[in-house]
């Protein structure tokens, strides 16, 4: 009985996880890269899902590319860490938000529908400053 209760308790958070739908997918990987969600890291492969809250990391000499639901495209060079802090894409209900945090490394960013419909809903935090996106293609480097 005790075991059953334990099993139930353990499976409850799994249900929450399953209800969480991906906000994007890994499309390109070179070398060693990972996607961490709720503290659990998986090796990044083509098709690996990315969620709101996921942390994307690349090792030395590695790179990674992700395409999001709203058609935002991000790709990363080596030694990079980016957290998808917030992601809301429900244009039918006017709910749009895309926040990320680049803590180190390099990012190539091509903005998508969220930046087009509501530019002030998109921002990228870095250790020294915040970037506001006005619908565009740009590069960001965060040094050590």
């Amino acid at each position: 009985m005790k075991n059953k209760i334990m099993a139930l308790m353990l499976s409850a958070p799994m249900l929450v996880l399953a209800a969480d739908s991906p906000v994007g997918f890994v499309k390109t990987v070179n070398g060693e890269a990972s996607v961490s969600h709720q503290g659990k890291a998986v090796r990044a492969e083509v098709g690996t899902p990315v969620f709101a809250g996921s942390v994307l990391r690349t090792a030395a000499q590695a790179s990674l590319g992700v395409t999001f639901k709203d058609e935002t495209v991000m790709s990363f060079g080596p030694n990079t860490e980016l957290t998808v802090t917030e992601y809301l894409y429900a244009p039918g209900q006017g709910k749009l938000k895309m926040g990320s945090k680049l803590t180190r490394g390099s990012l190539n960013y091509v903005s998508g529908v969220i930046a087009k419909l509501q530019p002030d809903a998109v921002s990228i935090e870095t250790p020294t400053g915040t970037i506001g996106v006005r619908g565009t293609h740009f590069l960001v480097n965060v040094g050590e």
Binding site: F25, K27, G77, S106, T126, I131, G132, T136, E144
Partner: protein, 197 residues
Amino acid sequence: MRRIHAKLLAAFLSIGLLGGCASKSYVVLLDNPDGSTGAVVIKGSKGEQVVDQSGHGAALDGSTRAAPVAAETIQRDFGSAMAARPILPERFLLYFESGGARLTEASAALLPKIIAAANRRPAVDVSIIGHTDTIGKAEVNEALALQRAQVIADLIKARGLKVHALSVESHGERNLLVATGDEVSEPRNRRVEISLR
């Protein structure tokens, strides 16, 4: 003479921006895939800057004004990130005959092209969104738009497209491509949007 001067100034500015150091934190604006140029706004501890010219960059702490960044510097710091960029997403519009889920002839002819484009993508992630014009009740159109989107989803699956992820949605008459009043028949609004990612 003046040109040499300008070149020297540009070189000086880019050295100033990067401080001759590879680890500086900065942003560089590039042309959009469609050839236009947008802008980024930097809010840092040392000020606020706007970068609105392609090839120009500025420090992330807001301490420097936007200035040209040398192509070699961009290649050195971002070559790997740029090479890893996924294929850019692509959108298609399919149009319907009035009042039902029957594709126009021209749109039906477009399906093989869409399937071929989807098959070229790794782990293709597809959204299909149905829309109507404003003829009829909003609730009825909500259902009709979903029916249109579902018809397209079934069609592309029947033709052998393997999708990694698929979403089928209805925007009913809430998201018109061409703004009209209520009860207006507008062929361009009777559509399904397909986003291939």
